[in-house]
Symmetry: C2
Subunit: 496 residues, 2 copies
């Protein structure tokens, strides 16, 4: 894989002088088109062996382009706000919005590579990590981002020469660290592992470009041209006529039996039992949040359900047991402008709670496979891929010791009608009922199918769905509280 | 000041039971109106003596209101991202946008109060800190926020009783800490200092409400009603007919002499000198960023100037000397939706750099007193108060060891015309010239006056303006680089 990058590629000064003005003008023009059209975002990764010129390349890119619309992110020590979130949070928070370019130096590949070479993780774990990187990059591409990955290569001999050269010059000596020499002594292992990594993570949408790092002119011109070509190709592409892609549809079960239909919605709770249980579970929940082990956890509660199923009421019963300093309730409505310019999961990533905190979502990332699917706000292939992306998202939270608790609050069509009418009648509940609610009601069947598919495809061992029979509000609220307690107890290693 | 809050106020259970449903309905309705109209933001401070029920009060507010549109923020340990910014950054980053309510428990009053009682800061410094809090709150009010401040009071005896009571109950024992008892033993001093603090920071726009904390019913009802009344008053206020407030205008100097007119724009630099100096100062700048002392600094560079004065070109010459990992260029255009729902300085606060980093603003917070003033985008009193607010903003950055360097790039009307025409002629520069540029040009005199006022009112010792004669690009770029170097050297304690 590295053979062509050890041939001693060079570019003469004459060619360089002739080519550079054209390239710069082209890049600037492409960046301007991008910035004005806001068609997509661009993510450029600059990785490679030590001292192969990564930093210099990034500096040059910033010089060539309009620095107001390009931003560089380097891997550095994690801040404590980052340490309390899943590892990818640091990248999500700085993803470029559509119209902008983000340059990542070091990148999400550094840690797995270094850890494997140093022996901290085995190949199997390396593969797992790379697999999850692949899914992340695929998601970015599917969301329309252009992902360009460059690997700067030096031969073993070349790297040694480079290190010596840098050390000789007092102006660059500081750039060579002990770590660089250590890595050099492990060159062969690095080469082997990187090669494997590059093979594994080169995809059709975002292949690696390996660039010989010896001659700066060659390096810069190669990367500059590759970026320009990629930008132009996407900018000039004529819009594809929208057509339903040949994606196999999800078929409902033949016998018309479904998880939702099999719920026993007639279950109720007497007021006295409710009041007793409410106190019991709220007390238990409160105690759990003061358990010493809770400081290492966070809790993400996801509420979905039919309109008027009582999500708000259930949320209130939860927060009554919590300290207001410890939770946030996040209402999910139309995305803001900044959110709309990012991948759809971005606005949920930005709300991942710190340790010792709750984030309670009133409607969630599942909007993608519910309302967006049913109302046709996104293409079929977009919501179909969302199942996997959502599972990834939740897995990352769970690995980071978030307890992810998901509720579907289910009511019957008749109960919903009753509640809608009730809401219209009571003054201060009027805001709870909109024309949209009535419209959604007409598509009851479509939503039901979407819900069943969602549960089938996203109820995982680590983040299961809890279906809540919600015709009776008392019954529903207690089931929610009890489930929440049990899930936290389980995470704390307590027996329920 | 505390006398009325030691009378033993109580509310009977009957009154409580009768009043609460009405209050809750009222609060919910007001919150809904707020949320839909997005007329203003609400900032509620809950402060007071230890164990007077601050936490419980906040929890209850969250229960009463719609938790999706209210958010609670408690003072806790600073994260390292917060530690590297001015102290108020932690509050700016969580200010509620218009339409939402933010509840602050602990608040920005805690630190100065505790530090003064413990003897860490003297009265003079306390006053200074309170003064700056006042300016912050005034700014919030001027920007349309409703700021409600509640102080929960307990008499010395009352506090002792409360602490004992909490300690007796196993369910609440954890809430009483050693610090609480320590504070209790300093009760008299606390009382004295708080009293002074409350007097000092009660203003017409945001007075303190002192609430006796002994009886929870009384406490909750008092605070709940005060909030409701404040919300309703503002929600129901009929829009005031816009009229030019009787603010004294800023008069131009009688002899038509001005800072801008006195600039010698004929200064030039030969190409050879330019190239030599460029290398010299870029090298110097680069070395400065690698000075060990630089790790404790950050640099904020503000660029303003006539259209086409060469801001972009100067910025590029700066970043050529820097590592792309170390700076961000922030272009300032129309605010995003999220930014528009906040005080105008919010979007600059969110971009304050960490230590060891540069933030380079291409156009700045001075837009308020330039384009917004000239084009009438804000009222006269708004841009008039901005001078002081901006000075505060910069002072906070400087105190936090930011080097704040501000450039006004000045060109003549003739030079601008020449450059506009040039830009229209060259393909990839076409984006640099818009209809707006031509329109601005027609108001040359108005802008000139605004610039002179700005410089007179915001060129401070700690954050002075540098006027750059920019008819000659070489001359301007070198002056910018040289100034930047000198300012950083000065901050590092080096002789220039």
């Amino acid at each position: 894989m590295f053979e062509s990058a050890e041939l001693g590629h060079t570019i003469s000064k004459d060619v360089w002088k002739k080519e550079i003005p054209l390239l710069r003008e082209g890049l600037l023009e492409a960046q301007l088109d991008l910035c004005q059209s806001k068609k997509f975002s661009v993510i450029i990764l600059i990785a490679g062996v030590d001292c192969a010129g990564k930093g210099e390349t990034v500096n040059l890119l910033n010089e060539w382009m309009d620095p107001r619309h390009i931003e560089t992110h380097a891997v550095r020590d994690l801040t404590d706000e980052e340490l309390e979130r899943p590892p990818m949070w640091r990248y999500w928070r700085v993803l470029p919005p559509r119209g902008k370019i983000g340059v990542f130096i070091g990148t999400w590949y550094s840690a797995p590579l270094l850890e494997n070479v140093s022996g901290a993780i085995r190949n199997a774990e390396l593969d797992q990590r790379l697999e999850s990187i692949l899914r992340f990059e695929n998601m970015l591409c599917d969301e329309g981002a252009v992902v360009l990955k460059f690997w700067l290569h030096l031969s073993k001999d070349g790297q040694k020469k480079r290190l010596k050269l840098l050390e000789k010059d007092p102006g660059t000596r500081w750039r060579v660290t002990d770590t660089d020499w250590e890595h050099y002594h492990q060159y062969d292992k690095f080469r082997r592992v990187s090669e494997r990594m590059l093979h594994f993570t080169s995809t059709a949408d975002s292949p690696w470009t390996i660039v010989e790092g010896t001659d700066p002119f060659y390096r810069y011109l190669t990367i500059g041209r590759a970026i320009l070509a990629a930008l132009r190709a996407r900018l000039d592409a004529s819009p594809v006529a929208k057509q339903d892609e040949p994606v196999p549809p999800l078929l409902p079960s033949l016998d018309n039996l479904s998880l939702l239909k099999s719920l026993d919605l007639s279950q109720t709770l007497k007021k006295a039992t409710y009041e007793r249980d409410l106190e019991k579970y709220q007390g238990r929940l409160n105690l759990l949040t003061r358990d010493p082990g809770f400081k290492k956890l966070s809790v993400v509660v996801a509420f979905e359900g039919n309109d008027a199923a009582g999500k708000g009421g259930s949320i209130r019963r939860i927060i009554q047991a919590l300290d207001a300093r410890q939770y946030r309730v996040i209402p999910v409505a139309a995305p803001t402008q900044e959110e709309g310019a990012q991948p759809y999961l971005w606005r949920f990533w930005r709300n991942i709670p710190r340790k010792n905190h709750f984030a309670i979502f009133d409607r969630t990332w599942y909007g993608r496979v519910l309302v967006e699917r049913v109302e046709g706000y996104c293409d079929r292939k977009d919501w179909l891929r969302a199942y996997g992306e959502i599972n990834d998202f939740e897995e990352q939270m769970v690995r980071n010791k978030s307890v992810v608790v998901k509720f579907w609050l289910s009511i019957s069509e008749e109960e919903q009608l009753k509640r809608f009418k009730e809401r219209e009648a009571i003054g201060f509940k009027r805001y709870k009922i909109t024309d949209e609610d009535w419209r959604n009601r007409e598509r009851w069947g479509d939503y039901e199918r979407a819900v069943c598919d969602m549960i089938d495809r996203t109820s995982t061992d680590i983040a299961p769905w809890t279906l809540v029979e919600a015709n009776d509000k008392y019954f529903a609220r207690i089931k929610v509280l009890k489930t929440l307690c049990e899930r936290i107890e389980h995470a704390l290693g307590q027996k329920s």
